[in-house]
């Protein structure tokens, strides 16, 4: 089984990526990078990463969130994080990235934030 499974949903012009597994060095980080690049190539620039199924992230995974965020911003888009586990919240606190990312606990609020 792949380290990270990413399913894609659309809510209007917003793409929600439901992520399940680990975002770690190697396969997991590469899967996220490839998906974000493809979405940007398709002109999809409003993206929510739903992390409710992500139980483990290492520094490479955190780096991939940052790269995704900057890549989407560069295309004048917006990337938000949804449903962070406590462990991921702690990692974002350690790295002082909680102030960088837009983080939501509720999908409705995350969707509304794009309006």
């Amino acid at each position: 089984m792949a380290e990270l499974n990413i399913s894609e949903r659309q809510a209007g012009d917003i793409t929600i990526l439901d992520m399940d597994g680990k975002v770690t060095i190697g396969e997991g980080s590469v899967a996220l990078r490839t998906t974000i690049r493809r979405l940007l190539g398709e002109g999809k620039k409003k993206i929510i990463l739903n992390l409710s199924g992500v139980g483990y992230v290492d520094s490479s995974g955190i780096g991939e969130f940052v790269s995704s965020f900057t890549a989407v911003n560069k295309e004048s888009g917006s990337l938000k994080l949804l449903n962070l586990t406590q462990k991921i919240q702690d990692l974002l606190a350690i790295t002082k990235l909680l102030t960088v990312f837009d983080v939501y606990e509720n999908e409705g609020e995350a969707l509304s934030s794009f309006k």
Partner: protein, 137 residues
């Protein structure tokens, strides 16, 4: 308490990161460390082996990464050696400085320091870097 040493010698491949972390987690569990400590040990081992494989040995598979796990009276001790050119840890930029926040890399050492009680780098006699980490009981 079981006070034996476990040694691993792994090739400089990304797959070695997972292998080392799984072994660390298993040994920590066998030695009675709780879930939070095992998560911390797993994370620190992943980060340090990833550094050794990528930045130390530069993914050169002719060079290995040597790891020792030891359950001692102080706690769970981990030593990781690479055979690369080495680096000055004090020269690694602080990833939490505002100018570094949006960099994709450079957070591994911060994680190792955050999750372990002691982390110490040195050059070893065979040429390369050695990092020693301790998770207290």
């Amino acid at each position: 308490m079981n006070e034996k040493k476990t040694k691993l010698k792994l090739p400089s491949r990304l797959e070695s990161v997972e292998k080392a972390a799984l072994e660390a987690e298993k040994l920590a569990a066998e030695n009675g460390f709780g879930e939070e400590a095992r998560y911390a040990i797993d994370m620190a081992v992943r980060e340090s082996v990833a550094n050794a494989v990528k930045h130390g040995n530069l993914l050169d598979e002719t060079k290995s990464v040597e790891i020792t796990f030891e359950n001692s009276g102080d706690g769970f001790e981990i030593t990781i050696k690479d055979f690369g050119a080495g680096f000055a840890v004090e020269k690694i930029p602080d990833p939490t400085n505002p100018e570094n926040l949006l960099k994709a890399n450079g957070r591994g050492i911060l994680f190792m320091r955050s999750f372990m009680d002691e982390v110490e780098w040195s050059n070893h006699a065979e040429g390369g870097m050695m990092v020693k980490m301790l998770k207290k009981r």
